[in-house]
Amino acid sequence: MKSYKSWLASGGVLALLAVAACTPGTGDDEDGEMVWAIGGSEAQPGGIHQRIAEMWSEQNPDNPIRIEVLPEAADQQREQQALELQAGGSGFDVLGVDVIWTGEYSENDWLESLEDVRAEIEAVTLPGPFESATWGGELWAAPYNSNAGFLYYRTDLVDTPPTTWEEMCEVATSAAEEEGIAGFVGQGARYEGFVVNWLEYYWSNGGELYNEDQTQVTFDTAAAAEVTEFMNENLDTCFAPGFNTAQEEEARNEFQGGNAVFMRNWPYAYALIEDDEGSPANGNFDVAPLPTFTGDGTISALGGFNNAVSAFSNNTEAAKDFVVWAATNEEVQTMLATEASLPPTMASVYDDPALAGDPVMALLGDVLGDARARPPSPAWNEISVEMQNNLFPAYNGDADINTAVENVRTFLEGTID
């Protein structure tokens, strides 16, 4: 009977919500301006992505582009893009997608196919980065910047860089003992970076995950067990203390602080160590291709970002033009290398004489050709989590190695339908 009073009260709250609802939200622009959703340091004001966006906007005043800066962490970038795309929102026109998201985004129909501009892009792009932008035989993104792992080593402690992982550990252990420091640091914490490091061991031991067109699992449990065993055996000797909690920055700190002989890391560490005059490694280090188990060649996992066109964009054609331009314009691609030390995906840039004096770009030119993409399968995130859950405890001695690699194989088989 008195419930009308309650309704009055609820009306108040409703009114509050209604007021809120009337506040215009930001988002859909109809004026031809495009939004590029990308994160990381280079998306910040003054970063290279911003300058490239400005360059495009100057040249294409009808379809200017501006950056929506996503968070620093890749997981959060993906989440923010996913929320918008899942809702079918047109807030983003161009998406900066990590090389491992391609399959997932295309499976969800979030991306505009780039098949009609495939030839243009394929002609100028390195094969590894190109592969990372395709899924199911179709091109879904335009390669933008790439990345590959290096072996950093101390030139004052090591004469020539090792060619096999075993040799690396022998040299590391003896040099480390003499100096009273640790041997090798890499990315050993339980996260995506560990999977990257593990795959580099595994691939360089002759292993593979899938066949060429990803229709069959070719996972080699023996090779997988060997490399996991290798990690386990060296955990307390060759590998630095804290290896199993180290990400990129922990590894760099260790090496830069003079506490390690060798380090597996991305090219970004080079300039930082070079700029640190207090570092014992400064002036005493160099980079080399990653070793293998067989002693032949080198293999690195590919990193980097591609630019994709959102399927919900109101500006598909202009967005497509933009991503093609960023992938194939020599000036843009060279800017990535010279002004931001981001490895370009365009092959010809590495032959540019302007880059010849840059040891990082020179080495990248050598190793990117042999670098391998993690399969950009829609299931990649699940595969990665499964590998972390099984292989991480196994190399730390908390789980049986053979069971762990069997589990990974079984899981991979489950991803093929």
């Binding site: 008195k2 419930s3 009073k5 309650s6 009055l8 009260a9 609820s10 108040g12 709250v13 919500l17 997981d75 989440e79 996913a82 899942q86 997932e104 499976e107 969800n108 914490a189 339980r190 996260y191 630095a240 203390p241 804290g242 290896f243 199993n244 909690t245 180290a246 922990e250 700190n253 260790e254 602080g257 506490n259 829609p378 299931a379 995130n381 699940e382 989590v385 859950n389 991480f392 405890p393 730390n396 908390d398």
Partner: protein
């Protein structure tokens, strides 16, 4: 004995207007109606924000997905999958160990803090502020801070304690310890704050009469303070427990779930965000919800009598 000493501070049910036929109290609003009016804004706001997503999640949990692609109705399949997955039980185990150890330590330390803050001494103001600092630092930052302090590089705690390269975060057991430690450091002040407020409502004369009766310090604490503080303690424990059962940030940042530190919420997060499977993620959420609510309701029953004494009994009779 305690009960009789306590009476003055306790709500006693001296018959009020609610009994019998709702007596119209001025302005035509009975107390019963007033109760409804008072309750409704809260209920409506909470329902409007929370009801839809919770129901939505429950419905989702009945459907099967491959990643984000729906493949059909599955009934309880997702629940069966969760309950037969060892990862689910591992995370339940960690979550319970974490909850029991951290809440116990937080309660004891928080109670100690509160008793101290409740006293008059030189430097009291500074101490009160200092005690609250850990709690006002955003959790994500506190987690990163403890990661840096415990981690081998740069090895701050190791260098202070002279432990060399002890790998706190990189081995089973100690990894759990560090997460519990960081949580206790961070949240004991929350308990302290609630208990301090509780202590403030205990009238001084209750202590005085206990003192006159010859009760020592310990006896006063045991027979006067604790029983009177019971509602505040229960509320603090309730919210600490339900929060600890849903812990996410600390293990996520400090250990990323390695070495048996994967909590229930981390598992939920994985299936909602990292490797999205809306159906399974919703089922895991619902299971977490059931576990947490079950434990929460035990507390509510314990609390209930203190909170709704009197009128609750009357209401229950109808």
């Amino acid at each position: 004995m305690a009960e009789t000493t306590v009476t003055p501070g306790r709500p006693t049910r001296s018959g009020n207007g609610g009994r019998g036929s709702p007596r119209p109290v001025r302005q035509g609003l009975s107390e019963r109606a007033l109760g409804k009016v008072f309750v409704s804004p809260s209920i409506i706001l909470m329902a409007m924000v929370a009801l839809f997503p919770v129901l939505y999640a429950f419905v989702l949990s009945l459907y099967l997905y491959t990643r984000r692609q729906p493949i059909g109705f599955g009934g309880i399949d997702n629940y069966v999958r969760a309950l037969t997955d060892s990862r689910f039980w591992d995370s339940i185990q960690f979550t319970f160990i974490f909850t029991v150890t951290s809440v116990t330590a937080e309660f004891l330390i928080g109670l100690g803090f509160a008793l101290l803050m409740n006293q008059a001494f030189r430097g009291r103001g500074v101490t009160r502020a200092a005690i609250l600092i850990p709690w006002v630092i955003p959790t994500v930052i506190a987690a990163q801070m403890w990661f840096f302090m415990f981690n081998v590089t740069p090895g701050f705690i190791n260098s202070v304690l002279g432990l060399g390269n002890f790998n706190w975060l990189g081995q089973s057991g100690w990894a759990t310890f560090t997460v519990v430690f960081a949580d206790v450091w961070k949240t004991a002040p929350f308990v302290a704050l609630l208990l301090l407020a509780g202590l403030q409502t205990i009238p001084n004369d209750v202590y005085e009469s206990a003192r006159v009766d010859g009760a020592g310090m310990f006896a006063r604490f045991w027979y006067v303070t604790l029983p009177l503080l019971k509602p505040a303690i229960l509320v603090a424990l309730l919210f600490r427990t339900v929060d600890a059962l849903r812990v996410y940030d600390l293990p996520q940042v400090m250990t990323r779930g390695a070495f048996g530190t994967e909590s229930l919420s981390m598992l939920v997060q994985q299936y909602v965000v990292r490797t999205p499977n809306p159906g399974y993620g919703a089922a895991l959420s619902t299971l977490t919800f059931i576990v947490v609510l079950g434990i929460g309701i035990i507390f509510v029953r314990l609390l209930g009598r203190d909170l709704v004494i009197g009128s609750g009994v009357e209401g229950g009779r109808r």
